[in-house]
Symmetry: C2
Subunit: 479 residues, 2 copies
């Protein structure tokens, strides 16, 4: 127990300092390590394995829906970036510029891609000529670079990993349907695989992607009440097509501009997992993306037959789960803490007495509940525990969001509820005027996160100016 | 047939112009497309799917051997790159430099990684302290950048995709064993999954990786007789550990320097596949990495029941193979050419008469052999054809290499055999002197590819100077 205590003391409590708690987990659970490259990090094996599981599930879904993976260059010539006016204005201030190749100065500087719309557009202009060439449903898994001033592991770093889908369609209707479909894919992924409830909605004009007609987003609420944008899906109309001169011959033999979308999720999702489910003992991982789903801890492992039994159980369970035996020479107590820190959903303890009684102990990470189960039908018992973890962390996250969602009809109400109950999602009506959006942010601290698809008529007046309201907005203080 | 003829005419014959034939295939098989980023390319869905299959097989093998994936930053600060003297000398002349972030000039320039030894070393210095921390067996799948002057799709491009394994071990013996093991993994992969025979050997001093004690490589022979380095594995000794101050406490409580390795294969492998197996009708893909293993072409598809049967066969075969039905409105002849161009190993033709007779036609891509088979046990018949393709393309590649491997004992012999029979692998003895290595290259055109592990005592004298020979070298004109 001394060992266990020592480990636990190493993390800052989330109540004391949430930001410090977060970075402590990133380090202690061995998700990331800092480097001498400012604002960039090493994603360590345990962190990267979470990303691989996210990739595996999403990639299969993308392909099931007809998407194909490609790989574009990581560089964008300055002249290419400048072809779409809004787009370059949005991204140019935060790109990294390559100016030299070896000892030679380049004729034209290249930026390291902050996003790849311009490259996809150039490619589509080359390969799309006829209605037969449409749609193209492409995606790539790469890293991108944005020269951020302040950075935090997973949440905001100068380089981050993501997937970026880029599709091109004959009609606006098809492109809009794709934009919505992919937002739903992200929302379902977050809710079903990460047990993270999200709000689906549309970004306001001031907050949409540079060059988009409309941006859809999913917004999650972290344990501390701050909002986190977990995925976005953009509809471009034919703006990029016109800027890049992409045209196709329709069935009626007319030249038409196609319609485009793009959509992405990033390694931010790992930050969202930490802040949605983690606690003062460390990470709590959703089973579907946990690198280890069941950790087997042999008790009194020097005694005859214990390790053998542990290995046998691993081999048996490996058909259905990602399983690890920790047979290192650390104490069981140290190991309990270690895998709590790493957020392993289910711990299986097995010692000489258990073996004699044909049983073992299962402990679920999120609530530390212990159950003694028979070794007969063990896979079923573990599956049941995994389900309990999913259900348990989902309910806890949903409860946090419900408790921290406030309906407000006046500015004063927003201020007082935030002061009293802390950060959260504020539901309040809006007239659609950007000046009001800015004023809410300025006076109350919460900015518009999105206009939820699921609307509620809280009042008929804008929370700020009192003029007729157009819609309900989800407001929050965001990561 | 008119359509088919038209397609085939579009590729340059390999006998007429091998280089043109190669780039024709890259374009016509839709593997890559050029971009406005000089020396960089788009890897299109069909090309990228080949890479995904290569990744899937290799990644599983790496993990089976205990390796874990990580992700390092794509940037390296100039001061970090300079820490190991040989390494920076080797790479600095060909890196891309980032000098600005947004509008601001960086205090220190960053290069885009040409390879990541320096980043891994910095990380190892942070996380390796005790013998308990060793070994670390890491790998990453990323892209790297080298500012090449002349570029060709897959073979040499400014940005290319690869995996780079980086491991660190307590002892030199372990690190050497890892270096050898990974070379064997590459060789087995090339031979068993790509049906590409390779020669395993060690690079000469002048040709080894910048900073390595020794570099092992696998060398393949392309259809035109030129050599292609298909993978490398480097042993670093403790040179990098000393340069980066990585030390660990041994079991005996002494501070020791660990020993390191790195190893990699790249998207070059796709170039190697094209030039090993391709022919004048296009690509010929090894079944294990072919995006489509069986293409089903319905004949007279407008007739009742034909398309339904084609879909039913697809659904049946999909349990064991990657299958596609081409139900587009192109003619069967056009489709035959299209999938020959794309190198699909097995074509299945099914028309009304076949259905009536409970049969179909299977055509193997590499030899265009047609077999009529029963629809009963179809999966077995297809599996047999896939085996035939593997065997057939392996034998053809091996035959090409055997025919083009020449044993020579004098410089004149090298010159005359190359003049008479064309490019190929030359086996000739060497004294170990770099001057002779250079002279052979200068006078005959073939450079040293490697010192094969499998040695043969062709003579006891150096082919160049006549002094006592140290070893047999494999010489060739390389891509």
């Amino acid at each position: 127990m001394a060992d266990q205590k020592k480990m636990v003391e190493d993390i800052t409590s989330m109540e004391v300092d949430f930001a410090k708690w977060y970075t402590d987990i990133c380090k202690k659970a061995e998700l990331v390590e800092y480097t001498s490259v400012k604002g960039c990090m090493v994603i360590r094996p345990y962190g990267y394995a979470i990303w691989e599981n996210i990739q595996r599930i999403l990639d299969a879904k993308f392909k099931e829906l007809g998407h194909e993976n490609v790989c574009m260059p990581m560089f964008i010539p300055e002249s290419l970036l400048q072809k779409e006016k809004d787009h370059v204005e949005g991204f140019a201030p935060e790109v990294a510029w390559v100016t030299h190749g070896g000892a030679e100065k380049l004729e034209e500087r290249l930026c390291v891609r902050p996003t790849s719309e311009t490259l996809f557009c150039e490619h589509y202009a080359n390969i799309v000529h006829s209605h037969r060439d449409l749609p193209k449903l492409y995606n790539q898994w790469v890293s991108v670079v944005r020269w951020e001033k302040t950075t935090r592991p997973f949440l905001r770093s100068r380089e981050f990993l993501w997937q970026e889908g880029h599709t091109i369609h004959a009609t606006a209707e098809e492109a809009v349907a794709e934009t919505e479909q992919m937002l739903n894919v992200y929302a379902d992924f977050c809710e079903q695989h990460l047990q993270m409830p999200v709000v689906k909605g549309q970004k306001t004009e001031s907050d949409k992607f540079a060059g988009a007609v409309s941006t859809y987003a999913i917004e999650a609420l972290m344990h501390d009440g701050k909002a986190l944008q977990a995925g976005t899906s953009h509809y471009f109309g034919d703006g990029f097509a016109k800027a890049f001169d992409i045209q196709y011959q329709s069935k009626e033999n007319k030249l038409e501009y196609p319609h485009q979308t793009s959509w992405g999720v990033t390694t931010r999702l790992i930050g969202a997992i930490i802040m949605t489910h983690g606690d003062d003992n460390g990470l709590v991982l959703p089973p579907d993306v946990a690198p280890i789903q069941v950790v087997i801890i042999p008790v009194a492992q020097h005694k005859e037959g214990v390790l053998e039994k542990a290995y046998a159980l691993r081999d048996q369970l490996s058909a259905s789960f990602r399983v690890k035996v920790d047979d290192s020479d650390q104490s069981p107590g140290w190991k309990y803490s270690e895998y709590e820190m790493k957020g392993v959903p289910v711990r299986l303890e097995i010692g000489p007495r258990d073996i004699e009684a044909n049983q073992c102990v299962l402990v679920t990470r999120h609530n530390r509940e212990k159950t003694v189960v028979s070794l007969d039908n063990l896979a079923d018992s573990v599956a049941e525990k995994i389900s309990e973890v999913k259900q348990g962390i989902w309910e806890k996250a949903l409860e946090n969001r419900t408790r921290r969602t406030y309906k407000c009809t006046t500015m004063d109400e927003i201020k007082s509820v935030l002061a009293e109950k802390g950060d959260g999602f504020v539901h309040a009506m809006w007239c659609g005027d950007e000046a009001c959006e800015d004023k809410v942010k300025e006076e109350t601290g919460v900015g518009s996160r999105c206009i939820p698809f699921e609307q509620e008529q809280i009042s008929d007046k804008c929370v700020c100016c009192g003029k007729p309201a157009k819609c309900m907005v989800l407001w929050g203080n965001a990561y």
